[in-house]
Amino acid sequence: MSLFAHYNYHLAIILAMIGFYTMISRSNLVKKVIGLNVFQVSVFILFISIGVHEDGTVPILREGYHMYSNPLPHVLILTAIVVGIAMTAVALALVVRIREEYGTVEEDQVQAQDEEPGAT
């Protein structure tokens, strides 16, 4: 029971860890950005899970309903999604610039070029 009762939270954590692993184990910068997005979605799932009220419904007032899920996490997350895509766009813009400067988007190759003697 206690294991089952938290399955949403556990899955959010597993997703977060998959995203985290994608970020730290892969050298391709685009893949890192996608990993970051996976991590981000896992946080959204965690927040929305916390807002769920088992007897509640969608937080839109209607006659005949008295129990609603918590609207606050919904507000936080829907703005966070839009802010998240804006940040993703900035990250991808950086990746495009890195590709133009270094000719590669692999982190280790970028680093190797930076460490070359004579590199500015």
Binding site: S2, A5, H6, N8, L11, I13, I14, L15, M17, I18, G19, Y21, T22, S27, N28, V30, K31, V33, I34, N37, V38, V41, F44, I45, I48, S49, G51, E54, D55, G56, T57, V58, P59, I60, L61, M67, S69, N70, P71, L72, P73, H74, L78, T79, I81, V82, V83, I85, A86, A89, L92, A93, L94, V95, V96, R97, R99, E100, V105, E106
Partner: protein, 334 residues
């Protein structure tokens, strides 16, 4: 039944995440990411959050996937082999972090528990008072645009700052002279064109509905902005960048993100001029409920304008860059 659907979606989403990690072909990864977001949107719907589901579907499955694809077109299609990289350390870090977090969940209230702290402090206030204070049914819109309008203003400014960042990095229009947007494979497909022509008006109409009906049903400026932008981006994908750029003249589009923030902040200042507090709408009209609703509609328009135009601008900047690269780089992304 709900639990079953929930568990099924959670299983699918985990499979998608693992596929994203394992796949080498980055185009496939981008498509998996779109699916991942769409399933997440389904999950949000089962968890009573249609507002969030709208946003996630339009942003994650729509705009984020397209931005990743456009970036891939300018970088590399395949990930380099990871052979020789040390995977032990990252694995160790991830396992330890994950185990600690899972251990931490043991103390959390059970999923859906009505007695959880999240449901017993500030949430009942919003649920009980929205009708009386504001008089609109959608509590999410009420909290977003009235109770917590200050936070929302901050978020809109962050979105605005992000587009400034992208413009700084990539430039508004940096296409070398003489590069024309030539027809791409997608533009040659008649089926896509016909279907797109049928779908796009519906998407745009739905965007407007979500914007102006957001007080009564799931929706609001954030969702409407991304849905509207997704419609125009679809047009750009199928019919080419040039025709899409003519929908909103670039000069106007460049000014819209600032205009939206101005509408939002201006509403706040207007309240101050009328003798109220910043973003306290009660002075806008005699009846406090009418005043609140007027304030909410005004700032939702501001949010919608900023979010929609920022998404469009970001897409146009990336797509322009891709056209520019095609000329000086020849075949990119080996």
């Amino acid at each position: 039944m709900d639990t079953l659907v929930d568990i099924l979606l959670l299983a699918f989403i985990a499979i998608c995440a693992i596929a994203i990690l394992r796949l080498r072909d980055l185009f496939a990864v981008a498509m998996m990411f779109g699916m991942f977001s769409l399933i997440a949107a389904g999950l949000f719907t089962t968890m009573h959050a249609p507002d969030v589901a709208f946003t996630e579907a339009a942003v994650g499955a729509g705009i984020a996937t397209i931005l990743i694809l456009v970036t891939l077109g300018q970088t590399a299609r395949r990930e380099k082999s990871q052979a020789g990289r040390n995977v032990l350390l990252p694995l160790l870090v991830v396992w330890i972090t994950g185990a600690t977090l899972i251990y931490g969940t043991a103390d959390l209230p059970v999923f859906g528990d009505p007695q959880a702290p999240a449901h017993t402090h500030v949430a009942p206030y919003y649920i009980e008072n929205t009708q009386e204070h504001i008089g609109i049914p959608n509590m999410v819109a009420a909290v977003l645009a009235s109770y917590r309008a200050y936070d929302t203003l901050g978020e809109v400014v962050v979105v605005f700052a992000a587009v400034i960042g992208v413009i700084t990095l990539l430039g508004l229009r940096r296409r070398p002279a003489g590069v024309e947007s030539r027809p791409r494979d997608l533009e040659k497909h008649q089926v896509l064109k016909v279907i797109a022509k049928m779908i796009i008006p519906v998407i745009l109409l739905f965007g407007l509905y979500v914007q102006f009906h957001g007080e009564y049903s799931p929706g609001g400026g954030f969702q409407a902005g991304v849905i509207f932008a997704a419609g125009i981006i679809l047009y750009a994908l199928v019919f080419g960048l040039e025709p899409a750029r003519q929908v909103i003249p670039p000069r106007v589009l460049g000014a819209l993100p600032a205009l939206g923030v101005l509408i939002f902040g201006g509403t706040g200042v207007l309240n101050q001029l009328l003798g109220g507090n910043f973003l306290d709408y009660s002075v806008l009209a005699g009846n406090p409920q009418t005043a609140q609703q007027m304030g909410i509609i005004m700032i939702e328009v501001g949010v919608g304008v900023t979010v929609g135009s920022v998404m469009l601008l970001i897409y146009f900047i990336f797509a322009e860059r891709a056209l520019g690269r095609r000329k000086d780089d020849g075949e990119v992304g080996r």
